[in-house]
Amino acid sequence: MKTISKLLLAISFAISVTTSAFATTVTAVSWGGAYTESQKLGYGDPTAKALGINIAWVDYSGGLSEIKAQKEAGKITWDIIDVFAMDTINGCDEGLFVEFDFDKDFPPAPDGTPASKDFFTDMPSKCAVGNILYSWNYAYSTKAFPGKGPKTIKDFFNTKKFPGKRAIYKSALTNLEIALAADGIKPGKGGKKIYKALNTEKGVERAMNKIKELCANDNCVFWSAGAQPPELLVSGEVVMATGWNGRFFNAEVGEGAPIKQVWDGQGLDYEYFVQVKGGPNDANGMAKKALAMMTNTEMLAGSAKYIAYAPWRKSSIAIMEAGEPWYKDGKTNMVPQMPTAPQNTKNYFLVDPIFWADNGTELGEKWEAMKAGL
């Protein structure tokens, strides 16, 4: 079995080698759509040009099963992968990714601040380097609430003051956090208190009850694809929806949809790049070189031209501010749209990947059991 798959891979490799040009091709794997587009235009193409290589963007649907299968088959074809925080932890533990010596591998900010200080928070594992920060915030339909709209995370759970259906994410991730934030545990800056509460059975129960209260009588729609929340709001199916800020931005600014984002109680979540151990450009060092360049101050700012996700480096914001209006349409200021902007981070939590790596399965089971009883 193993030898056969090796043989097949060898053949496909031989074909790919003979058909591709002689320039080095680094394969970067990401989520596709507008997001990969922003990565390609923002830093992929400039990096490829500067280094004289090709960067091939491949789409995948997340998770580590493909790369694990590549490793088990003995032939790895990916160099760089765009992953969730939890996947960097699990993949690092499994030995799938290269561990970084952070300040040595990644360049400092223009003012000389070492990379580890320039990035927004610490990395969840030694294999990760930050790429963008996005937000789990919520938006409401300005048609449903033309006058006084909801302003806080408590308003999202207040069905008396703001009647109507809600859309929330299908899994427990971030839902338990906002439930506690709405139930009176103030996240403040970072949300440590929320995770402290969720580490106790009582806290989990409290969060589940808050969700049950909100979703009783079929009052919730559970969304699974990122395109759903703006769609549900625009069609009038729900009046408020949690979602990813980039998607809301596209609907609100890009398409002029009648929705408005609320940043109170937002959860900041992260995307990372990892470098595959034993990938085709691991030994020659090209994958690491490309990765270091793609995540420098200027390059990261580049991607925010195309999508409303925040660059990881604090120093990138200065470049954006100097270049406003930064959005590709040439008239929208991007800094206020960033999840990390000061006016958006008055009350927020950082999604804790270690907590979810620890408790994800068990909380997922409890969440499904709760949903089954709705």
Binding site: M86, N90, E94, I354, D358, G360
Partner: protein
């Protein structure tokens, strides 16, 4: 006198029996070579992967050989109170070894499957254990995190001692084997798999039923109409079959949501009030409607191909022998279509049982099925052994249905065309 003299010989002097066998053998080899590519294909794409899954689902050697000293020391432990110092010491020694080999991450992943909460405390232990002093490891390990002083976590480690285990199958039924060797259920608020199994079976059953009820008249019409109409109808059946699954699901969402086309129509003709629009999406109704439409061709086609072969004169004969149309249909026509019904129902049921994109998109709170759970463990937690176990449970369920069908109807009585 001897047997040799009685043997029949061929012209070149070889006994006939041997010669015949030789010719036959050559034919056998030829026949085998002809089917060999298919056989090889089946072995590589079915038998190997399923065997591999089976091995993965019971193989637990990895943890056994990661913590050899610990498991040896644990043999004397009664498994009730916290273990003695020697268990802690053995665990510490094993753990240092793993840290040196950079394998403690794998251990943390594996133990986290058995009990959630191991990931962070093993990371913490790795950091702290560098500065451990010799002796009294129990105190030192317990000081790292309060979970290390919780006996439940040590019980969880002990559960991983055997090299082969059926724990993953028990987990798929929300059960586990406790330290006394009894099989018990997990806490009530975590019993999710049983709910999912039942929900999956329920949805698959009803979707198959609805498909059958809708497809039977369609197939009958297709088989009896003149060719020029039936061809058009056939295209109507096949067109959605060729359309992407996601497109069809999304269309149903646009049609059925509360502000959707169907509801607008109902309000427009005054069937329901504007503020009392019925909920047809994000619940089971949505799942049934969308899945039935998607799987309908799989029922129509086998039924049609069987009905096409039934001669119309049989029904006429039934009627001329005195049966009313209903009796003639029930006694003559229906039994003849059973091979098609069997094929269609099996096909629909097997496809429905493994479906998960459509229910996840249109099913709302009830949209999670067992295959979503398998995908979750394949992609997110990387617990492939648990995913394999659940996959095999699903497979054996399908095989059981096949067996029941074989007993009731007979498997040679199945016809796809």
């Amino acid at each position: 006198m001897s047997s040799e003299s009685q043997q029949i010989l061929t012209t070149d002097g070889i006994p006939l029996e041997v010669s015949l066998k030789k010719a036959e053998r050559r034919n056998k080899i030829k026949a085998f070579l002809l089917v060999a590519p298919l056989l090889l294909f089946l072995i590589i794409t079915y038998v190997f992967p399923i065997g591999d899954m089976l091995m993965r689902s019971v193989d637990d050697k990895m943890v056994t050989e990661m913590l050899p000293k610990t498991f040896k020391a644990m043999e004397k432990w009664n498994g009730k109170e916290l273990p003695e110092e020697e268990v802690f010491e053995a665990f510490y020694l094993d753990f240092r070894q793993l840290v040196d080999e950079k394998r403690e991450g794998k251990l943390s992943t594996q133990l986290n499957y058995t009990k959630n909460g191991f990931k962070s405390i093993i990371k913490k232990l790795r950091r702290k254990s560098k500065n451990f002093e010799e002796g009294n490891y129990k105190e030192q390990i317990m000081a790292v995190h309060k979970r290390w002083a919780d006996v439940e976590y040590w019980k969880a480690i002990k559960r991983r001692a055997p090299a082969f285990t059926g724990q993953k199958y028990l987990k798929g039924m929300d059960m586990y084997k406790n330290e006394n060797g009894e099989i018990v259920s997990v806490e009530e608020d975590r019993r999710i798999h049983r709910i999912l199994w039942l929900r999956t079976l329920e949805i698959a059953f009803f979707v198959t039923l609805f498909c059958f009820l809708m497809a039977y008249p369609i197939a009958h019409l297709l088989a009896t109409l003149p060719m020029k109409y039936s061809n058009l109808l056939m295209i109507c059946v096949l067109l959605p079959f060729w359309t992407s699954l996601l497109v069809r699901t999304a269309s149903w969402m646009i049609l059925l949501q509360q502000q959707g086309v169907v509801n607008d129509l109902f309000v427009g003709i005054g069937l329901v009030a504007d503020d009392a629009r019925p909920q047809m999406m994000y619940n089971k109704t949505g799942t049934y409607v969308a899945m039935t439409q998607i799987l309908l061709p799989f029922m129509v086609l086998p039924l049609y191909s069987v009905m096409k072969t039934i001669s119309p004169s049989l029904m006429r004969a039934g009627k001329s022998l005195g049966g009313t149309p209903i009796v003639a249909f029930w006694k003559v026509y229906f039994p003849l279509t059973i091979p098609g019904i069997g094929a269609g129902c099996l096909l629909c049921f097997i496809l429905a049982i493994g479906y998960y994109i459509t229910p996840a998109l249109v099913g709302g709170a009830s949209g999670t099925l067992i295959s979503n759970q398998i995908a979750f463990h394949m992609k997110s937690t990387l617990d492939w052994s648990f995913a394999s176990a659940m996959g095999l449970m699903l497979l054996s369920g399908v095989l059981a249905i096949y067996w029941v069908y074989n007993k009731l109807v007979g498997i040679d009585n199945i016809k796809l065309g």
